[in-house]
């Protein structure tokens, strides 16, 4: 007798149960405990069964054979073994929204694995779980795992997987599924099963599998982890059969967890790097352009060493914490220098063409290069090592003079060594003079930024410059980490002094809105164990996609100061719509329709409180900002999340 039928017996009798009991006497004792019989009872079929024809020879034979085994206990499960495998991968967290298709693994994680490595992070939406993984990996330098309901949960997870894919970030995505059709229960298990669940996301994961046995799972889990974390990094997807998770293991001794060895990052060809070193030493105005360059804490110091050796300009696209913001050679807000460059080296830049072209978003779209015709262009990165055809996150084809396939961070030591070898005293003097000029220009840029930040200082809505200046003023002596910004917000990088690898972790990657809040929380989860003060500034539109992220913050007590850049609009789109109306010479006062968040305004602080998070706002008075920041920072330093709703100007 199964647990299901016995618990039914404990319940209050009802008419269907009476039918069930009547039918049971005829259907025979063996059928009594099966869930199928229980289902039949509910629909009242037993009455009809009595009228059924007498059993034929086959049925009679089946009746004569012993009833199938129906144990009520098990002492092992595939899920337990899966947890053992995950533990060898040192995965700290399993972000998830619970679902029956992985109830076997879920139970094994909490009871067999003691809810440690991985520890479950409960997420109200699968997009939140994956985005948390994206933000987490960029701070912690390793992936977390997420698991979802194979079909419907994966559909929710997919946009975040796309962001992570475009952002070259590893996330171990798993989903439950029931492979064998004859094992699926009627009802939800059918629409929640697929013959190939991963097909949905195959265009934006690096690899996927649906293991057919536990040994297969062990090997595929290790393979998935390795593929995901080898540059170019990307999410991977494993579909886990429900029966495989739940069923007892016949012989545990025959299962083997293979040895995990991470693959080294691919380094650029030595000869090509030597050639690049020569070009760098000989160039009069070399510029290094970087985007997702720093992969580990070693990345930034390496780039600093190269740039300082050459005393050359660095322009950062801010995909990662690549280069200190105040470094005299950081010329990120002087992109016009590209027009003077005789050598441009793009390191881990996805869209080199976009960075090197002025594009005009006009009725007839046009563009021209930002660099002079004689400039040499070199690409160094892993972008070309793994490509897929459908989604177009690649940018236009860029002419280059030397294309070095290899991980930039891994290639830098060889490049630096070659550069140092090639420098003589004459070049050294030239470099020093060049560095002095760049340093002076940098100083002027920072002073100009400070001056620009004073415009509208007392305005309400509060300027974004004021918010950023006030925030930095209060955190600069803490061990801070900025892990999210609203669209186009450049003030932190113009004003703040970023020096540590974890002080910035880049952007969404694929531009899918709904990234900033959950990815910031994932980054805060990583920062928590290091005792860092995590802050983020995110759009109100972004927040509206994934507000329940705040519940996860409260539930898991993840300290994060989250400032809602409340411009009461999907402002990026508001500007585009304004441009469309102006093109037509009509309705330039109508562009707020469908682009703004008003009537009613959203009260984000109240929303936060509803999820159990400290919230203050809306703050419109610029003089109220500093005290509110102080209170919220105190809350975060005590280990709690806090939200400030700041009514700010658009950009």
């Amino acid at each position: 007798m199964s647990k299901r039928s016995s618990s039914r017996r404990d319940g209050a009798p009802d008419s269907s149960r009476r039918n069930f009991l009547k039918g049971a006497t005829i259907a025979g004792a063996a059928a009594l405990g099966t869930p199928a019989a229980a289902n039949t009872a509910i629909s009242g079929f037993p009455e009809q069964r009595r009228k059924a024809a007498l059993p034929g020879p086959r049925l009679a034979a089946a009746d004569a054979s012993p009833p199938p085994a129906d144990p009520v206990n098990q002492s092992s499960s595939g899920g337990d073994f899966m947890v053992d495998v995950l533990k060898t991968l040192d995965i700290d967290y399993l972000a998830m929204n619970c679902a029956s298709s992985f109830r076997g693994l879920h139970e094994a994680v909490i009871n067999h694995g003691d809810n440690k490595k991985p520890e479950i992070i409960t997420c109200p939406h699968e997009e939140i779980a994956v985005h948390m993984g994206q933000g987490y990996a960029k701070i912690e330098g390793k992936p977390l795992a997420m698991i979802c309901h194979g079909v419907v949960g994966l559909q929710h997870a997919s946009m975040a997987m796309y962001n992570a894919w475009c952002d070259r970030v590893p996330v171990i995505v798993m989903g439950g599924n029931i492979m064998e059709a004859d094992k699926r229960a009627p009802g939800a298990e059918w629409p929640h099963s697929a013959i190939d669940p991963a097909a949905l996301t195959r265009d934006f994961v690096k690899w996927d599998d649906q293991p057919a046995s536990l040994q297969h799972f062990a090997e595929s889990a290790l393979r998935a982890y390795k593929i995901s974390t080898t540059p170019p990094m990307a999410p991977v997807m494993l579909s886990l059969d429900q029966e495989l998770q739940e069923n007892p293991i016949e012989n545990r001794d025959r299962l083997r967890i293979p040895k995990f060895t991470p693959a080294t990052a691919p380094q650029g060809d030595d000869a090509a790097l030597a050639q690049l070193a020569k070009m760098l030493v000989a160039a009069e105005n070399p510029v290094i352009l970087c985007d997702r360059m720093a992969r580990t804490p070693a990345g930034m110091p390496r780039l600093v060493e190269l740039a300082e050796t050459l005393q050359c300009a660095v322009i950062d696209n801010y995909g990662r914490m690549n280069f200190p913001s105040r470094h005299p050679l950081n010329q990120s807000f002087r992109r016009s220098i590209l027009s003077q460059a005789d050598l441009i080296v793009a390191m881990e830049v996805n869209d080199i063409w976009g960075s090197l072209s002025d594009f005009h978003d006009r009725i007839v779209r046009s563009s021209e290069p930002r660099y002079k015709k004689t400039a040499k262009i070199v690409a160094l990165g892993t972008r070309g090592l793994y490509m897929k055809a459908n989604y177009q996150d690649l940018g236009r084809y860029q002419d280059v003079d030397l294309d070095i396939a290899g991980d930039a961070e891994a290639s830098l030591p060889v490049l630096i060594e070659q550069v140092k070898r090639g420098i003589d005293e004459g070049r050294k003097a030239v470099f020093e003079a060049r560095g002095k000029k760049l340093a002076a220009a940098k100083l002027a840029t920072v002073e100009q930024a400070k001056l620009d930040a004073t415009i509208g200082w007392d305005a309400s809505p509060i300027t974004t410059a004021r918010l950023c200046a006030e925030l930095y003023s209060q955190i600069k002596d803490e061990d801070w980490s900025l892990v999210g910004t609203s669209i186009g917000l450049s003030w932190p990088h113009r004003l703040w002094n970023f020096t540590k690898p974890y002080q910035w972790n880049g952007l969404a990657g694929g531009g899918g809105v709904g990234y900033t809040l959950p990815a910031s929380l994932g980054a805060a989860l990583a920062n928590k164990r290091h005792g860092r003060l995590t802050v983020a500034i995110g759009g109100d539109g972004d927040f509206m996609f994934v507000p329940s992220t705040l519940w996860t913050a409260a539930h898991h007590q993840i300290p994060l100061l989250y400032i809602v850049h409340n411009n009461r609009a999907y402002h990026q789109e508001y500007m585009y719509l304004q441009a469309m109306a102006a093109r037509h010479g009509r309705g330039i006062t109508n562009a707020d329709i469908g682009t703004t968040l008003k009537d009613p305004f959203v009260d984000y602080a109240t929303v936060a409180k509803g999820f159990g998070v400290y919230g203050e706002g809306p703050i419109s008075d610029p003089n109220a900002l500093a005290p509110a920041l102080k209170r919220a920072i105190a809350m975060v330093k005590s280990g709690q999340p806090a939200l400030l709703d700041v009514v700010m100007d658009q950009r």
Partner: protein, 130 residues
């Protein structure tokens, strides 16, 4: 191709005017005989017609597809400002006289001229803390 070349040249000319937006600390000279605009109506239009979307309510600038210029204490003379609006360069939308009359544009110009612009950072401790 020929058309492409002219349009690029045209852009370059207008971009040169755009350069005049960039504010130094010196206030550039204004046309002597500029029509006196109404800054109060100018503010209303600046908000209603969407100028603030890219250039900020305080004329502090912002960001569209690239950083957009601050307009507080605008240096561009009013005639050039109006001409600029009619055929704007780069990604700036052009505003025809059908939706924005010369008078309205002059009012917006007057409003931008009335905005205080940059301040001395020494009065502002959070700025000094950067």
């Amino acid at each position: 191709m020929a058309m492409m070349r002219t349009s690029v040249k045209h852009l370059a000319v207008v971009a040169a005017i755009a350069g005049a937006f960039t504010l130094g600390n010196a206030v550039a000279s204004r046309a002597e005989d500029a029509p006196a605009g109404d800054p109060v109506n100018g503010k209303r239009l600046y908000l209603a017609d969407g100028c603030f979307e890219c250039h900020g309510r305080a004329g502090q600038g912002g960001r569209f597809n690239y950083l957009t210029p601050a307009l507080a204490q605008i240096a561009l003379p009013v005639e050039s400002f109006i001409a600029f609006l009619r055929e704007a360069p780069n990604d700036m939308p052009s505003f025809s006289a059908d939706v924005l009359s010369d008078k309205d544009a002059a009012d917006i110009h007057a409003y931008l001229s009335s905005l205080p612009g940059r301040r001395d950072a020494k009065d502002i401790p959070p700025i000094l803390n950067q």
